[in-house]
């Protein structure tokens, strides 16, 4: 029985007897368009949401978003969901923005698409109100929200907290440089060590992948030049040998094109995933910082609370009239401390789940990247073999004729 509220997804059958559709949320980031002029130029994207979830306004919604909107969403999620590895964004790029090459635009679009879909498939993040805002609100609301970034923090304590957060993020507290309050969980230590090492290795790998892309392009260029030279030499030779040279030259130029294609494929489907991996690891480091802060808060508040308790007992013994005030303070502080402890424990719990998910996701992501890489290389090599092989008949014809001639 289909309930009247759920509308069936477009792609599934329209039969009235089909069971209620499974909940889904598909988002795509498409259609990059350059807007604005000169320094203020930016790229806008169409974000299309198709869903049957009740929280959303209808089966399909299209909005226009720009990169800073994505940044807004990312920062909101990072603020609200400490402990979760927020999917990484492609880099802000102050320089390339001006050039806006087709390649850059495509890479960014792909990365944003992956970003938003990862959020949509994360069990916690997908429920975020900010996500819904992002996916559904019109552009004006979005712009207002974006510019109100700094206005959401009302309490000065929060402001101070941001300060401290920034400080700690910058000063690399996680590596335990002379900071007194630190977790001593050996497994967590191991994880930290792993993540830091992993970042280095991945960065190196990504660099090599990028170099490989460049070399492919250079080889493509060489093949093109070589092909031209061979054709000219063929024109000089004349008759059947000349034809062989020409054919060789033509195939060489053909292969040049194939190499450029493969270079592009390598860039989008191998190098980018590696870069994405690096970004993901960096996002984890941010969570480390969050965890360290939460731990520190929890410790500090716990200590302060204990001191307050001791003080309270003292006052009680002395039957001072400050007791009631002190008791209220104590209770407040205790609540805060418990809150801090809960925050910390949430983060720990979330992180443990997130790590498992991260490893699994990365195995899948890298598996796919490897597959694309291998497939691309195999196809390229086969194309090369085919192209050169097609020259052989002409060569044979030439040698046969020369034997008879």
């Amino acid at each position: 029985m289909i309930s009247p509220e759920t509308s069936p997804p477009r792609s599934s059958s329209q039969s009235p007897r089909s069971p209620p559709a499974a909940p889904f949320l598909y988002i795509s980031v498409t259609d990059p368009v350059k807007l604005g002029n000169g320094v203020q130029a930016y790229i806008s994207y169409r974000v299309i949401t198709r869903t049957n979830l009740p929280e959303f306004q209808g089966p399909e919604k299209i909005v226009i978003r720009r990169y800073s909107d994505f940044v807004w969403l990312h920062d909101r999620l990072a603020e609200k969901y400490k402990g979760i590895f927020i999917p990484p964004l492609p880099e802000k790029s102050a320089v390339e923005k001006f050039r806006f090459s087709t390649e850059f635009i495509e890479m960014r679009r792909q990365a944003l698409d992956i970003f938003i879909n990862r959020i949509a498939s994360h069990p916690e993040l997908k429920q975020s109100e900010d996500l819904r805002t992002f996916l559904q609100e019109d552009e004006e609301t979005m712009e207002r929200a974006r510019s109100q970034e700094t206005g959401i923090f009302k309490k000065p304590a929060d402001l101070i907290q941001i300060f401290k957060d920034v400080q700690t993020k910058v000063s690399d507290v996680v590596l335990g440089k002379e900071k007194p309050v630190e977790e001593t969980d050996p497994e967590y230590e191991k994880l930290k060590h792993y993540i830091f090492g992993l970042e280095d290795h991945l960065a190196e790998t990504q660099k090599q992948a990028f170099r490989l892309v460049k070399r492919h392009r250079e080889l493509g260029q060489s093949l093109s030049d070589f092909g031209k030279a061979m054709k000219l030499l063929g024109a000089c030779e004349g008759n059947s040998l000349g034809k062989v040279f020409s054919e060789l030259g033509a195939k060489s130029e053909l292969l040049s094109i194939k190499l450029q294609k493969e270079a592009h494929n390598l860039l989008m489907n191998f190098e980018e995933p590696l870069k994405d991996y690096v970004r993901a690891v960096q996002s984890i480091k941010v969570t480390f910082a969050d965890r360290a802060n939460a731990f520190r808060q929890h410790c500090e508040l716990a200590e302060t609370t204990k001191l307050k308790e001791i003080n309270l007992d003292k006052l009680n013994l002395m039957r001072s009239d400050k007791v009631r005030e002190a008791e209220m303070e104590y209770r407040e502080l205790k609540a805060e401390s418990e809150q801090a402890t809960r925050r910390f424990e949430t983060i720990v719990r979330l992180m443990n789940e997130e790590i498992v998910r991260f490893q699994e996701q990365k195995t899948a992501d890298m598996g796919l990247a490897f597959h694309q890489f291998a497939k691309g290389q195999a196809k390229l090599a086969n194309d090369i073999a085919d192209a050169w092989r097609s020259v052989l008949p002409k060569i044979e014809a030439c040698s046969v004729s020369s034997h008879h001639g």
Binding site: H201, T205, Q208, R211, L241, H371, A374
Partner: protein
């Protein structure tokens, strides 16, 4: 019959392939430090391309290293002349190339240059402290006529001797396309001693001597024989330096200028040599004047170049014009291919390091799966890298033909200029004769007007007639020489056309076959990995 050969080929190739992939995967797995390009056995002529001999890469059971490119050439072997090479790798079959056919035809079975030694110049030179030079051991095995080993000779020569040989050959064999000798290097002796330079020169010398031996005419020359076989000092006249020639010429010039014609005439046999700077100043002036007359006056000399030759000459120039970029682009292509191979190897190594790291810290099952996947890719990358580098080594060998023919163009130009300068000499002498004859006529006419003859004039006439006789002789020599050079040019051009056709075809064929073969191998390496990781693509869909 062909089918059986092909089948055998297939079987042996497959067996070798498996051996190789096993060896390689072991090597890759165990040894993460050295994905150095694989070694090639030493009988492959490394030429100019330095192939680092990898340390602990493929095991010595590496006929796999020489492994035949692929099925491709087995498929095409019906067109090949049956070399009876059923289990010789097609690589060796390619070696039964036109070049080796020529080598077989030469008098010399084998020439090798080795063992560079530094010796001190025992000279009374102005430079204090002896300068040093390098000598090379040159061993030659002569082909007696049967297949058995003929006598072997070994001599020590220094580079100066090679220059002497080259110079004597260029004098003796005018009109021939003489293979160009290795460059002199006018750098200080410090650099000359450097191992790399010496090695480079050694290879170049070897190649040069072999090319000389392969030449159908020069290979049989006395000069070469003496160079290769006479022990001790090289018994060829050394090249005179410019200074002493200038002095020589300066001595003779006054005689020539002050009209002692007979004495001043260059001896007929010398006319055969081009006018050398310094020695034959007068002759040079005359020939220069003739050249100007040829170009600027309306008068066409009676002997000129024939049209057919000029057409062929133009074709040669065209060829040289095209060979230069072709040779450069070939080099660039090889470098690019090399770069791709190197980075691929580097990528593989980086992955291997990553694997090591992740394995140490492995906690989750998904991690272990990822490590396994990464290992496949890393191994494939290292394999592919090696294949690229092997392919490149072969490509160098083939495309080197372009460089060689470019070098040969220099020899061609030189042969053509021999012809041109000889023609100029003929034309000059003919002009001389015309002038002399005119003078005789004038003198005789003037003398006949005087009764009883004019003693002094008649004496002059006799002198002139003597000069004319000498000049006629010289002219005959020069014409003979010109005809000789023309014939040499023609034969050489025909030979060049034939050999170029064969060599180019062989080059293209070798290049293409190697590309096909190695690309197929690389494709199969990656296809395996693609297959192994295909489930990720399915899951994604």
């Amino acid at each position: 019959m062909m089918g059986l050969e092909a089948f055998l080929g297939f079987a042996s190739i497959r067996a070798r392939k498996e051996r190789e992939s096993l060896a390689r995967s072991d090597a890759a797995a165990s040894d993460c430090r050295t994905a150095i390009p694989s070694s090639l056995p030493s009988d492959v002529d490394p030429l100019l391309f330095p192939i680092p001999r990898g340390g602990d890469s493929p095991p010595p059971s590496s006929s796999s290293v020489l492994e035949p490119p692929s099925y491709a050439d087995v498929v095409f072997s019906p067109f090949e002349s049956s070399n009876g090479a059923s289990d010789q790798g097609p690589f060796l079959r390619l070696d039964a190339s036109p070049r080796s056919a020529r080598a077989v035809a030469s008098d010399y079975r084998r020439i090798a240059v080795s063992d560079p030694q530094t010796e001190v110049e025992a000279s009374n030179s102005l430079v204090p402290g002896g300068t040093t030079y390098v000598t090379y051991l040159i061993t030659t095995r002569v082909r007696p006529g049967s297949d058995d080993a003929g006598p072997e000779f070994s001599v020590r020569r220094r580079f100066r001797d090679v220059v002497t040989l080259a110079d004597r050959l260029s004098e003796a064999y005018r009109g021939f396309f003489i293979p160009p000798r290795p460059d002199k290097n006018l750098v200080d002796s410090q650099i000359m001693q450097k191992h790399e330079f010496v090695e480079h020169r050694r290879l170049a010398l070897e190649k040069y001597l072999r090319r000389l031996a392969e030449h159908p005419v020069i290979g049989k020359s006395d000069e070469l024989r003496v160079f290769l076989q006479e022990k001790g000092k090289l018994p060829l006249p050394t090249t005179t330096d410019v200074a002493s020639r200038m002095m020589d010429g300066a001595v003779r010039l006054p005689k020539q200028l002050f009209g002692e014609w007979a004495a001043a005439q260059v001896a007929s046999q010398d006319i055969v040599q081009p006018a050398k700077g310094g020695r034959d100043l007068l002759r040079i002036f005359k020939e220069l004047k003739q050249a100007v007359v040829n170009d600027w006056s309306g008068v066409k000399p009676s002997v000129v170049e024939d049209k057919e030759f000029l057409e062929r000459k133009e074709k040669m120039q065209d060829l040289e014009w095209q060979l230069t970029p072709a040779s450069q682009q070939a080099e660039a292509l090889i470098r690019s291919q090399q770069d791709v191979g190197e980075i691929m190897g580097g990528l593989g190594l980086t992955f291997i390091k990553l694997i090591k790291f992740e394995t140490e810290e492995s906690v989750y099952r998904s991690q272990r799966i990822r490590v396994a996947d990464t290992k496949n890719v890393a191994t494939a990358a290292v394999k592919a890298s090696r294949l690229y580098q092997e392919l490149n080594a072969h490509t160098v060998k083939h495309l080197d033909t372009l460089h060689e023919y470019l070098g040969l163009m220099v020899a061609v130009r030189s042969a053509f200029s021999d012809r041109t300068s000889t023609l100029l000499t003929v034309q000059t002498l003919m002009s001389d004769l015309t002038t002399l004859n005119t003078r005789v006529e004038k003198l005789e006419a003037a003398s006949s007007k005087i009764f009883g003859g004019d003693r002094s004039r008649l004496r002059k006439v006799d002198e002139l007639r003597e000069t004319i006789r000498v000049t006629e002789d010289a002219k005959s020599c020069a014409i003979r020489e010109y005809d000789r050079i023309k014939k040499n040019n023609r034969n050489e051009l025909d030979r060049l056309d034939r050999e170029k056709h064969d060599d180019f075809l062989s080059m293209l064929k070798g290049f293409v076959i190697n590309q096909v073969g190695y690309s197929e191998k690389i494709a199969s390496v990656w296809a395996t990995v693609a297959e192994e990781t295909s489930r990720y693509a399915r899951d994604n869909n």
